[in-house]
C-alpha cells in the first residue's frame, strides 16, 4: 500500500450549510415547478377559480408577514450565536419555532375559511390544496429544523454555529418560496 504524505488538519467543511443548500435547491425546484404549472393552468380560459370562492386575504397577508418575521428572528439567532450570546440565540430560535407554528396555524385557518372542496368543477380546487399543502410541509420541515438547532444549541453545542447558519439559509429560501406562492395563489389568484 502506498503511503501518501499525511495532511494537516482539514479546513472547516460547512457540511450543514452545503447540505441545506442542496435540500433548499430541491425545494425551490419543487415549488418553482408547481408555480409554473399553476400559471399555465391559470392562463387557460374556463379552467380556473370558482366565482364563489373568496380568499381570506387578511389571513394570507399575515401568514406572509409571519414568514418574514421568522426570517428576522433566525438572522438574530445567527448574530447572537456568532457573538457567543447563548441567551439571545436561544430566545431567537424559540421565537423562530413559534412563528413557524403560527404560520402553520394561519394556513390551517385559511383552508378552513376558504370553504373550497377539493373536488371541484375545475382543477383550481385540487391545485390550490396541492401547492399550499406542499408549502405547509416545507414549513413543518423548517420548524423541526429549528427545533433540532435549538436543542443542540441549548444542550451545550454553542460552538456549532454552522447548524444555525444552515437553518437561516433554509428559512431565507422558505420565505422566498412563500413570497412566490403568496403572490401566485393569494394575490394574483
Amino acid at each position: 500500500m502506498l503511503a501518501l504524505p499525511p495532511a494537516p488538519a482539514p479546513a472547516p467543511r460547512r457540511q450543514m450549510i452545503v447540505g441545506t443548500a442542496m435540500f433548499s435547491a430541491a425545494a425551490a425546484m419543487l415549488v418553482g415547478g408547481m408555480t409554473a404549472l399553476w400559471f399555465h393552468f391559470r392562463s387557460e380560459p374556463g379552467l380556473w377559480k370558482p366565482a364563489k370562492t373568496v380568499i381570506p386575504e387578511v389571513a394570507t397577508n399575515v401568514m406572509w408577514v409571519t414568514a418574514l418575521l421568522a426570517l428576522a428572528m433566525v438572522q438574530w439567532a445567527v448574530y447572537a450565536a456568532r457573538r457567543g450570546d447563548r441567551q439571545h440565540a436561544s430566545v431567537a430560535l424559540g421565537i423562530t419555532m413559534i412563528l413557524g407554528l403560527a404560520h402553520l396555524n394561519s394556513q390551517a385557518y385559511v383552508w378552513k375559511r376558504v370553504e373550497l372542496p377539493v373536488r371541484g368543477e375545475t382543477p383550481y380546487n385540487s391545485m390550490f390544496y396541492a401547492i399550499t399543502a406542499t408549502l405547509f410541509v416545507l414549513v413543518v420541515v423548517g420548524v423541526v429544523y429549528a427545533m433540532v438547532a435549538a436543542f443542540r444549541y441549548i444542550g451545550g453545542r454553542t460552538k456549532d454555529r454552522e447548524t444555525i447558519s444552515g437553518l437561516a439559509l433554509y428559512w431565507y429560501v422558505l420565505a422566498a418560496l412563500h413570497t412566490v406562492v403568496w403572490f401566485s395563489v393569494y394575490v394574483t389568484k
Binding site: M1, L2, A3, L4, P5, P6, A7, P8, P10, A11, R13, R14, Q15, V18, G19, M22, F23, A25, A26, A27, M29, L30, V31, G32, G33, M34, A36, L37, H40, F41, E44, L47, V118, R119, G120, P123, N125, S126, M127, Y129, A130, A133, T134
Partner: protein
C-alpha cells in the same frame, strides 16, 4: 497512508453463529450508515430489478412480431410498457449510477465517510419502498391509464417516494463531493468519475423535483379531486402529463447517463498507464453535456417544424433551439472523448495499454451513448415523422443500455473495493462484448422500423391508442424479432455478470489493494476497505495522487 485492516464482512460473520448471525447480519445491513454498504445495496437491488425489466422488454419485443396473434392482452400492453420505461429509469439507471458513486466517490475523495450517511440510507429505503409500491400498483392494474383508481393512486404515491429517495441520496452525494475532499484536492483535481457524479447529483436535485411537482398535482387531483383517469379531461392529459413525460424522455435521460462519460475518462488513463491529457477538457466536456441536457427541463418543445410551412424567421428560431438542445450535448461528448482519445493514443505510442474488461465496458457504454445522442438528432425534425414511432424507443434503449454497460464496467473495475476479490478477466471480456452486441441488437432494429412508421408506445396511456392506426405492413417481423432477442441477450448478460460476480466474491482470488495500478485515492486503502476507509487523511498535490508516488518513467 495507513489503514485499519478489518474487513467488515469478516468481522460481521464472526459475531454470532446460526440464525442469530443471519438476523444480526440483516439488521446490520438494514441499519447501516456505511456508505459502501448503502451504495452496494443500491447497485445490487437495481441490477436485480434491471433483469426483470429487461426481460419484460424482451416479452414486449416478441409480442410486436405479429400484432394479429399477440400473446399479451391489449389492455395490459400500455401498462407493461410504462412499467418498462418508468422502471428502467427510476429502478435501474439512476440507482445503479448513484449507488456506484455512493460506494466509491467518498474513497476517491480521501474521505472517511460520506456527508450525511444516514440521509443516504434514508434515501435508499425511501427509494426501495417507492419501487415496491410502484410494482404493487402495476400488479393491481395501476400505472398511468390504469383501470383501478386506488392502484393508480398507489402508483403516483410510489413514484413520488421513489423520486424523493433518489433526491435525498443525490443531495448527500453532492454534499460529499463539495465538502469532504482530502486536503489539497481542489474541485479541478477530483477524479473524473467523482466529477461526473457531482454533476449527476446536482442534475437530479434540479430536475426530479420538477417531476415531483407534477406528480403532487396529479396525485391530489386524482385521489381527492375525483377524476377518473389521468388522461381524461384537460387536467392530466393535456397539460400535466407532458411535464411528467419530460423526465422520462430524451434529452433529459441523457443526464442520467453522465457517469458513463466519467467512468470512461476514469479508466482509460489507468489502463493506458498515462496521466489524463487535457484533463480540463474532461471536466468541461461533462459540464457541456450536462448543461445542454439540463436545459431540456426549461421547455418541452424544441423541434424543427414542417420546413415548407415555416417562414424564414421561424426556421431560424427552430434551428437555434434545435442546435442548442441537440447538438451541444454532442459537443460535450466530443470534447471529453477528444481528451480521452489523446490519453489512449499516448498509451498506445508508449505500448503501455492493457486491454481489461472495465475498459471494454466503458467504451461499450460510450459507443452506445453516442449512438443514442446521434440517433436522437433526427427525432425533433417533424418532416421525418419519427416522434411517436418505435424510433424513440430505440433511442431510449440505447441510453438505458449505455448506463447498464458502464455500470457493469464500474462494478468490475471497483470489485476489489466492494469485496476484496477480482472478477475473472476472460468471461468479463466476453460479457462486455456480448452486452455491446445486445444493446445494438435491441436498439438498431427499432431505429429502422421507425422510418417504416411502426408506431411506438411512448406517451401512450390508453390501450386503444396503440391499436388505432396500427399498420401491420410497417412492422417487419425480422426487425421486431431481433429487438426481442437483443433485450433477451442483455438480460442474459446481466444474469451472467451477477453469477460471475457472486462466484468471484465467494471463491475468487484475492485482488490486492491496487490491482489495476490505479491513480486515485481509493487504491491507497486496503481491499476491501476498513469501515472508516482511511486512518490518516492524505494530502493531495495533483489529480493523480498515487501516480505521483510511483517510480518516475512509468507515468502511472
Amino acid at each position: 497512508m495507513t489503514t485499519i485492516h478489518t474487513p467488515t464482512d469478516a468481522a460481521a460473520s464472526a459475531a454470532s453463529p446460526g440464525a442469530g448471525q443471519a438476523l444480526s447480519a440483516v439488521a446490520s445491513w438494514v441499519t447501516t450508515s456505511d456508505h459502501k454498504r448503502i451504495g452496494r445495496l443500491f447497485v445490487s437491488l437495481s441490477m436485480l430489478m434491471s433483469i426483470g425489466l429487461i426481460g419484460l422488454g424482451a416479452v414486449l419485443g416478441f409480442d410486436r412480431i405479429d400484432r394479429t396473434e399477440n400473446f399479451l392482452d391489449v389492455n395490459s400492453l400500455g401498462q407493461l410498457f410504462s412499467l418498462f420505461r418508468v422502471g428502467l429509469i427510476f429502478m435501474a439507471m439512476i440507482p445503479l449510477m448513484l449507488g456506484t458513486a455512493i460506494s466509491i466517490v467518498p474513497m476517491q475523495l480521501g474521505a472517511r465517510s460520506m456527508t450525511f450517511p444516514r440521509a443516504a440510507a434514508l434515501g435508499l429505503w425511501t427509494w426501495l419502498t417507492g419501487c415496491g409500491l410502484v410494482i404493487t400498483a402495476y400488479a393491481q392494474n395501476g400505472g398511468p391509464g390504469g383501470g383501478d383508481s386506488s392502484a393508480v393512486d398507489l402508483f403516483l404515491a410510489g413514484l413520488g417516494l421513489t423520486v424523493i429517495g433518489l433526491v435525498i441520496a443525490a443531495a448527500s452525494l453532492a454534499s460529499t463531493v463539495l465538502t469532504s475532499r482530502a486536503p489539497g484536492m481542489t474541485l479541478d483535481r477530483v477524479p473524473a468519475f467523482a466529477w461526473s457524479s457531482l454533476v449527476l447529483a446536482v442534475a437530479i436535485i434540479i430536475t426530479l423535483p420538477v417531476m415531483l411537482a407534477a406528480l403532487v398535482y396529479i396525485y391530489v387531483d386524482h385521489r381527492y379531486g375525483g377524476r377518473q383517469s389521468l388522461e381524461a379531461g384537460g387536467f392530466g392529459g393535456n397539460a400535466i402529463y407532458p411535464w411528467l413525460r419530460n423526465a422520462l424522455s430524451q434529452p433529459l435521460t441523457f443526464i442520467y447517463a453522465l457517469p458513463v462519460l466519467g467512468f470512461v475518462a476514469e479508466v482509460v488513463p489507468v489502463f493506458a498507464r498515462r496521466r489524463t491529457v487535457l484533463r480540463f477538457a474532461v471536466l468541461v466536456g461533462v459540464g457541456i453535456f450536462a448543461t445542454a441536457s439540463l436545459t431540456g427541463i426549461t421547455q418541452i418543445d424544441h423541434t424543427i417544424g414542417e420546413w415548407g410551412s415555416l417562414s424564414n424567421g421561424d426556421r431560424f428560431k427552430d434551428l437555434v433551439d434545435y442546435a442548442f438542445f441537440n447538438l451541444v450535448p454532442i459537443l460535450g461528448i466530443l470534447v471529453l472523448m477528444g481528451a480521452v482519445t489523446l490519453t489512449l493514443l499516448t498509451g498506445l505510442k508508449a505500448r503501455t495499454v492493457r486491454l481489461e474488461a472495465p475498459l471494454i465496458f466503458g467504451f461499450a457504454g460510450v459507443i452506445t451513448l453516442t449512438h443514442a445522442v446521434l440517433a436522437h438528432l433526427l427525432v425533433p425534425i417533424e418532416d421525418l415523422h419519427l416522434a411517436g414511432s418505435v424510433y424513440e424507443e430505440g433511442v431510449f434503449t440505447f441510453v438505458v443500455y449505455s448506463v447498464l454497460l458502464a455500470g457493469l464496467g464500474a462494478v468490475s473495475y471497483w470489485a476489489p473495493k466492494f469485496r476484496g476479490r477480482q472478477i475473472p478477466r476472460v468471461p468479463l471480456l466476453l460479457l462486455a462484448l456480448g452486452g455491446l452486441g445486445a444493446s445494438l441488437l435491441a436498439s438498431v432494429p427499432y431505429l429502422i422500423s421507425g422510418f417504416n412508421n411502426q408506431p411506438g408506445l411512448f406517451g401512450v396511456t390508453r390501450a386503444e391508442s396503440m391499436v388505432i392506426g396500427w399498420n401491420h405492413e410497417a412492422a417487419p417481423e425480422l426487425l421486431n424479432t431481433l429487438t426481442g432477442i437483443g433485450h433477451g441477450l442483455m438480460a442474459l448478460t446481466l444474469l451472467g455478470f451477477i453469477a460471475l460476480t457472486q462466484r468471484a466474491y465467494a471463491k475468487g482470488k484475492s485482488a490486492g489493494d491496487d490491482p489495476w495500478n490505479g491513480q486515485t485515492l481509493e487504491w491507497a486503502t486496503s481491499s476491501p476497505p476498513p469501515p472508516n476507509n482511511f486512518v490518516d487523511l492524505a494530502s493531495v498535490a495533483s489529480p493523480e495522487p498515487l501516480t505521483d508516488l510511483k517510480p518516475a518513467g512509468s507515468d502511472a
